[in-house]
Subunit: 470 residues, 2 copies
Amino acid sequence: MEKCAQKYKKLDNNDVKFLVDLLGQERVFTGKDINDDFSHDELGGVSKYPDAMVEVLSAEEVSKIMAYAYENNIPVVGRGSGTGLVGSSVPIEGGIMINMTQMNNILEIDEENLTLTLEPGVLLMDIAKYVEDHDLFYPPDPGEKSATIGGNISTNAGGMRAVKYGVTRDYVRGLEIVLPTGKILELGGKVVKNSSGYSIKDLICGSEGTLGIITKIILKLLPLPKKSISLLVPFPDLETAINTVPKIIKSKSIPTAIEFMQREVILAAEEFLGKKFPDNSSDAYLLLTFDGNSKEQIEADYEKVADICLEEGALDVYISDTDERKEAVWSARGAFLEAVKATTTEMDECDVVVPRNRVAEFVKYTNDLQKQFNIRIRSFGHAGDGNLHVYILRDDLSKEEWEKKLSDIFDCMYKKSEELDGLVSGEHGIGYAKKKYMFRQYGEDYIALMKNIKLAFDPKNILNPGKVCE
Amino acid sequence: MEKCAQKYKKLDNNDVKFLVDLLGQERVFTGKDINDDFSHDELGGVSKYPDAMVEVLSAEEVSKIMAYAYENNIPVVGRGSGTGLVGSSVPIEGGIMINMTQMNNILEIDEENLTLTLEPGVLLMDIAKYVEDHDLFYPPDPGEKSATIGGNISTNAGGMRAVKYGVTRDYVRGLEIVLPTGKILELGGKVVKNSSGYSIKDLICGSEGTLGIITKIILKLLPLPKKSISLLVPFPDLETAINTVPKIIKSKSIPTAIEFMQREVILAAEEFLGKKFPDNSSDAYLLLTFDGNSKEQIEADYEKVADICLEEGALDVYISDTDERKEAVWSARGAFLEAVKATTTEMDECDVVVPRNRVAEFVKYTNDLQKQFNIRIRSFGHAGDGNLHVYILRDDLSKEEWEKKLSDIFDCMYKKSEELDGLVSGEHGIGYAKKKYMFRQYGEDYIALMKNIKLAFDPKNILNPGKVCE
């Protein structure tokens, strides 16, 4: 772990007393009382316990803790469900971890302005259900439904429907944040347009908890599309499958989602869930969704796309138009990460994004790396938006072999991504684990500017230090 | 004009020689050779000539000029078509104006990634036509079609279709910018998703040329909707018209655009264009557009909305489904600003944005101000997204009376907007003219953060000084 030039104050009994006086004993955890979960996230290869973990219930509490930490030079990390994959929420300098999960109230649904106002600890699965009950729709749909919306906004994870609907940032209308100094700011609001000064809201989205702590959110909603269908399309091989995607995009029928998957991953998901996937006989699949308000329009769209798939070499086209059948394929898709994880001892992932017409080239390259490095690599992801999730599996490698191979493979993958005009992360962020690759791609001037921006918000560098750009 | 604490170097013969050596005599203008147009924009009540106006053809030229200016502490302003309304492109500290309008090449249309790569000087009207010829669609649609795309991104002006499609920022995938130091950065790219560090691209959008100069742009395109229709809906009065809008939104049929207009403005447009509007007998109108790929879907949507309008008190519903009839109403709408301007000696405008269900209250308030201040006020705008354009007309007021009344009226309007949870600018920006009102609404901490961000990009404060937050 890199050393921070600046020395932080180590949490002492007085600091803990401040926290207990503010929050009560039952919301302040120290030492052995801190659950192991809070020392790591889901991947990222980094772990460290905070000196204190506190549960907060209001922006005012966050503000008081931040102001105290600022005054006393104590590092602070905000944390949601801890489902990140790059170590963003790991308190690598110790200090105070602010657990935001108890701030989980939905505050208002406004059907005249089509907005949802809520606290950052609400889970994505709860948002989806809540708005659907009001016949409304929140399009961003990351695979990990137990993530909090606050954490999701912090990485700007866009999920499956970005092809048609865009990413999380596009649905964030307003934020309340607590700055590293403890000041509370309201950014944006219920308004649809905003050209009133620098868009700090858009900068906070994707800043991985390094510029401010999100304490309230106003989301943009859409009317719930009345119909949706999914197509599962088997192909003889992955290259043929993925090469079909740019042709679909070019055809001007925009599906809601286009995912790609390979048989090995489907088999792992079947095993993991104890449920059969509708088909597992082919090497590679595209899974597409179409949504809209009229059956005719959706049919016209998917028939055109089905024809393109068949022309390009698809073996068949399975249509899922009942909730049950859609559930069967999409629940398998949702379990891929966990399913792959369950087949090995340890894994790490590469979350590059490349232009849509370069996906096939990238996936082919990762397949070649399997042979070159004699290691298992599994990938799936968002063929429709160019965002890949490529998992490198440790299996029975020794720690040394694993670390060496992983580092070499990452090196190859991120170089390849750069060559294809891609970027280091499509949605999982940079955090701690991917800094090296972002630094290499962006170069000195770009990173220097990011560091300046960080200092503009956080002159003492106490909020989530050691992440993203430093 | 406020005094800048920091002293800039006054342009001298050596500096002009540097520019001439770099660009050639024919692209460097000084003194009397600078056209009056370059001393002001379309409104904003501020004017000042640059010491030199230069035309550039490449990012490298911009970079060399910026590096020289940075080295020598000379202020620089970038400028597109100069169609701004708040003085953003007026060189209030003199120095060098970089005219970007000759960098007007469309570089690439990529139908597999649905992107358009272009230079900042391309005009909005040329983008619209170019992509339509490829059966593609660039949704942002500000009223002023002779704006450059670079200028448009600098204010994040969203235009008429924000109701359904969002604003300009949502369609900017990548930018090349020149920093105040002269360094060139590439931000984003053709990729659909990006969580690779702070989103500097999103911060540049709407920063009104104060953080960097945009030299290349990658826009996101959509397939061109196959059908569109417009509805012109007369109402007995404006309040009834505008109060209908939240009910339309709540009905879950999202039109592409919902504009409101009053008879006085329509009459002015008829006079200005020398063409009849389809109807001018009613006090107030809503103008709606619906687009999509299927006639059936559009019909279902607009029939539902037409019914809502009639239930809420509309006098009739006129359907424009031919290109000719749509052209007649929308060309009138496009001419409103110029038409109103032509009826008076001078005017200024308020571009607030309020939540959609507060528009009626705001417009009613501005109507009341007419009587209170005995002045003509004309408004039109985007009822569907809450962004209003309210024009205060000088007519035959003396300079003193005009300045006093204008200041008092602005004061009232921006206070009212704040009361309604609105913001100072929906799309025209803050520039020079609206700083006072933004400062009042945001308060010290917020403005201090913006200034820090400005300094993170521009430590010598040489790029477009005196705008937005300082």
